[in-house]
């Protein structure tokens, strides 16, 4: 029975007035959606490889997480391996090495985040002020080029430059200065990781900020100039607020990577002398998983890391939402 005052369509049952569709409406709704999808089929087709990538390489492998709760044997497989519950997690948390690598991972990630986060922003602001187009593009190309080098190459170059017998220490020694052994001294190793990471990535990271700056209405700048604002004031009162949204999103995503301190970089640059400060969760997973063949324990570490990352993203999104800042959702 229709409720008085409600706008009930023919063929729509009473329940539709409270939000539930009848079968006919559901079919019509589905046809409408599929039609819309067909209308934009090229865009969906463009999206398909990315979706497939995530489905094949991210979602399907999630099934393997069950290894973290088993004494996994490749011979017995997932269905045949004995279930041990949280035993590997208990073992993990009791391992002194785990606490060390966890601490290293968080510290290195936080260093990279809080020191590395402002650099591409500042660079984008500075680059935005450059008027000479050719120079601007040259700088942009030179600075984001290292992003495309793998850490095997870039890290190898860094080791050659600043490692023992490298160009930098040899050059300094030639002018009477002695450079400390940066790559083998636990005091300096994390700093080297952070600095080399910034050098490699700041140019690429600045691209999103440059794009955000380009999207700011130029008339606002014109109005500010009319009001007598200088460049610094324009950057402070117009550009930075305009970047707030993208900064928030990048920050949230960075918090999700808080337990990824950069496997490739650390693996290429570390050595036993700095394991105590440089060994991270990923390098630990690599050693116990692939080299030692302890797949279950390695899976437990990986799962722990992913859970923490998910919690960090949710928490950060929530905090920013409460602060009325742009968020992911």
């Amino acid at each position: 029975m229709a409720t008085a005052g409600t706008d009930v369509q023919p063929g729509v049952s009473e329940s539709s007035t409270t939000g539930h569709l009848g079968p006919d409406s559901r079919r019509r709704h589905l046809r409408r959606e599929l039609g819309r999808a067909w209308k934009y089929r090229e865009l969906y087709l463009l999206l398909l490889p990315a979706i497939l990538f995530f489905v094949i390489f991210r979602y399907i492998p999630m099934g393997g997480l069950v290894m973290g709760f088993q004494n996994y044997s490749p011979v017995r497989g997932f269905l045949g391996s004995p279930w041990v519950g949280f035993q590997h997690f208990e073992t993990l948390f009791a391992l002194p090495k785990f606490l060390e690598v966890f601490r290293n991972t968080v510290i290195i990630s936080l260093y990279k985040l809080f020191i590395g986060f402002p650099v591409p922003i500042i660079f984008a602001l500075l680059l935005n002020e450059v008027r000479h187009l050719l120079f601007k593009r040259a700088i942009q190309t030179v600075t984001y080029f290292p992003h495309f080098l793998s850490w095997v190459v870039y890290g190898g170059i860094m080791v050659l430059f600043i490692g023992p017998g490298g160009a930098v220490p040899e050059g300094l020694e030639a002018i009477g200065l002695k450079m400390p052994a940066l790559l083998v001294n636990p005091k300096y190793f994390r700093t080297i990781l952070v600095i080399t990471n910034i050098m490699k990535e700041f140019g690429w990271a600045a691209i999103v900020y440059l794009a955000a700056i380009a999207s700011i209405d130029p008339s606002i700048y014109e109005a500010a100039m009319v009001d007598g604002a200088n460049r610094l004031q324009q950057a402070r009162y117009i550009t930075l607020p305009g970047l707030r949204g993208i900064m928030g999103i990048v920050f949230i995503l960075s918090m999700g990577n808080i337990l990824e301190a950069g496997f490739e970089q650390v693996f290429v640059m570390y050595n036993p002398a700095v394991y105590a400060v440089g060994d991270i969760l990923d390098t630990y997973i690599y050693r116990i998983g692939l080299v030692d063949g302890r797949f279950s324990l390695a899976t437990a570490v990986g799962l722990f890391r992913s859970v923490i990352a998910a919690i960090m993203i949710v928490m950060t999104n929530y905090i920013l939402k409460r602060a009325d800042q742009p968020t992911l959702w």
Binding site: L34, A37, W38, L48, L52, V55, I56, I60, S73, P74, V75, R76, G77, P96, K97, V159, G163, P164, G165, A181, L183, V184, N185, P186, N271, P272, A273, V274, Y275, A276, L290, V291, D292, G293, F295
Partner: protein, 531 residues
């Protein structure tokens, strides 16, 4: 029609995804017999060149098709583990039977027992002493691998005797004299090398043991060994907990700080040995059996240098202790095991190859091909230099052959000892090295008493102790500012936190000092092939 067009890509995607979920093919049963088999062998080889003549000669001689796949040693464990986890089992693998990984493969049923093949091929069985086979039986009473015992020319210090002569020095016998030699090399550059000169380069720059064993040994500490406690000779302790370690590391630290050791130690991943090959280094760590290889390379790099080399296998430390190569009685290096991928036909075929290597193929596997890899001099085969072989017949490179003969029986080492010219080692050198070994063993020095490791605690926790010991050594040597006493205390605390007590208890429960002393004494006996 529209719905069908939409569904089609979805069906295709689903099929692709489902095919990715297909299980790995199951291993074939043991009962299957085939006439034509190819045995897949996964081995360790840093300089493996697949395009060599040796594979063909082995196949021709043994009548077995072999698919040799070699992986560089730093990557081997990882590669093997990944293959085994993926179900892509080679027929034959190399694995150290004292490792946790071997036990895991056993527990997972990935290895097959070889007892029936040892019975079928008594030459292979008789190539090793009966007690070796008995010591290698697993809990179920079966044998799962062909052992590989260590040789009788252990790692020593390989040095330039021509440089020593130019400096007017005698061969160093103490650490102090050795350091003086390195200092004079650095200061006087007897080889006129110039900037690339490095007095001492460890054979492997990323390996603490190969870099420091002789120096630490001369201070009374055999790196990573288990030795009788000075306070309680009936109790075994981890050698790296001895306070003398600090003195040894301090010595090496000063060597490094004073520019006498390669500055890329622990940072570079390449072989320091190649710098010795290039003739830029006075000393490296090396095995005497390769002397002719190294010397030939140096002479090619510096034809006018009249280069010559020698070995130092023992240096006396400040407290009168003489260093020497560490010996593990009944030492087990990387053995050879068959996996469940090997059908009965393939397992039998592999043993035919091993049997052939020990019989008709013995000459090929030890000296090679006359006129190509060796010449007969007074009836004794004398190996040609590696560079000479590479120049004239690169497909006969001896390194490639050595990778194919990793199942050396003790008789191989007896053959080495009795035919030193074959390995181009002089009688004098062999006598010297054997003398150092004999003296050390008689005085029960430089023995690692961790012979039996078949215990869960040892298998699970020993690796962590080793890692900590290597990290501590590297950290102290490379950082002159670190307070070595404070670091040592932290190191001991870290060992305790990683179950040193539990491992110590397990080691002592399994390894009786008297029994192992007797095994060590038997090593140098001419009647016992154990080396």
């Amino acid at each position: 029609m529209k719905r069908a067009k939409l569904c089609l890509p979805l069906i295709i995607v689903s099929l692709v995804l489902l095919s990715a979920c297909a299980p790995a093919p199951a291993a074939t049963t043991q009962e299957e017999m085939a006439e034509d088999v190819t045995v897949v062998y996964l081995g360790i080889g840093d300089s493996w060149v697949s395009d060599n003549e040796w594979v063909g000669l082995i196949e021709e001689g043994s009548g077995v098709d072999m698919d040799y796949q070699f992986v560089p040693s730093p990557e081997y464990d990882e590669k093997r583990n990944v293959l085994m986890a993926a179900g892509d089992y080679p027929d034959v693998i190399r694995i150290n039977p004292t490792t946790r990984q071997f036990k895991q493969y056993l527990n997972d049923g990935l290895l097959i027992p070889i007892d029936e093949y040892l019975d079928k091929y008594p030459t292979v069985r008789d190539a090793f002493p009966a007690e070796v086979w008995e010591n290698n039986r697993q809990a179920d009473g079966m044998i799962y691998h062909i052992p590989r015992l260590t040789g009788n020319l252990p790692r020593c210090l390989h040095y330039r005797t021509d440089w020593l002569e130019k400096l007017g020095m005698d061969e160093p016998t103490t650490l102090a004299e050795f350091r003086t030699f390195l200092e004079r090399v650095r200061d006087e550059d007897p080889g006129n090398i110039g900037d690339p000169l490095i007095p001492f380069v460890p054979n492997r720059l990323d390996n603490v043991t190969w870099s420091m064993e002789h120096f630490l040994g001369a201070h009374g500490v055999d790196h990573l060994a288990w030795v009788p406690s000075p306070d309680n000779p009936d109790q075994l302790v981890f050698a790296n907990t001895l306070p003398a370690l600090k003195d040894g590391l301090q010595w090496v630290r000063e060597l490094f700080a004073d520019g006498l050791m390669d500055p890329t130690f622990m940072v570079a991943t390449d072989r320091g040995l190649f710098k010795f090959y290039a003739g830029n280094t006075a000393v490296t760590s090396d095995w005497p059996r390769f002397q002719h290889f190294r010397l030939e390379a140096i002479r090619n790099a510096h034809p006018d240098a009249n280069a010559d080399t020698g070995y130092i296998c023992s240096l006396t430390g400040p407290t009168g202790i003489a260093s020497g190569p560490m010996v593990v009685p009944n030492a087990q290096s990387t053995g050879t095991a068959l996996t469940i991928a090997a059908t009965a036909a393939e397992a039998d075929a592999f043993f035919r190859v091993v049997n052939w290597q020990y019989t008709e193929g013995w000459e090929l596997m030890t000296v090679g091909v006359e006129g190509i890899t060796y010449d007969l001099v007074d009836g004794v085969p004398v190996t040609r230099g590696r560079d000479a072989i590479l120049n004239d017949n690169p497909q006969y490179d001896l390194y490639s052959r050595d990778y194919l003969f990793k199942n050396e029986p003790p008789a191989y080492f007896d053959y080495q000892r009795d035919n030193v010219k074959w390995i181009d080692v002089s009688d004098e050198m062999m006598g010297y090295v054997q003398g150092v070994l004999k003296e050390a063993l008689e005085e029960k020095r430089h023995i690692n008493y961790l012979v039996d490791r078949d215990d869960e605690t040892i298998l699970n926790d020993l690796g962590a102790l080793h890692s900590l010991a290597n990290e501590f050594a590297a950290r102290v040597v490379l950082n002159p500012d670190l307070d070595i006493d404070a670091e040592f205390e932290s190191f001991l605390a870290a060992l305790e936190a990683n179950n040193l007590a539990g491992v110590t208890e397990a080691v002592n429960a399994l390894n009786d000092i008297e029994t192992i002393n007797a095994m060590a004494a038997a090593i140098m006996s001419p009647d016992d092939g154990l080396e």
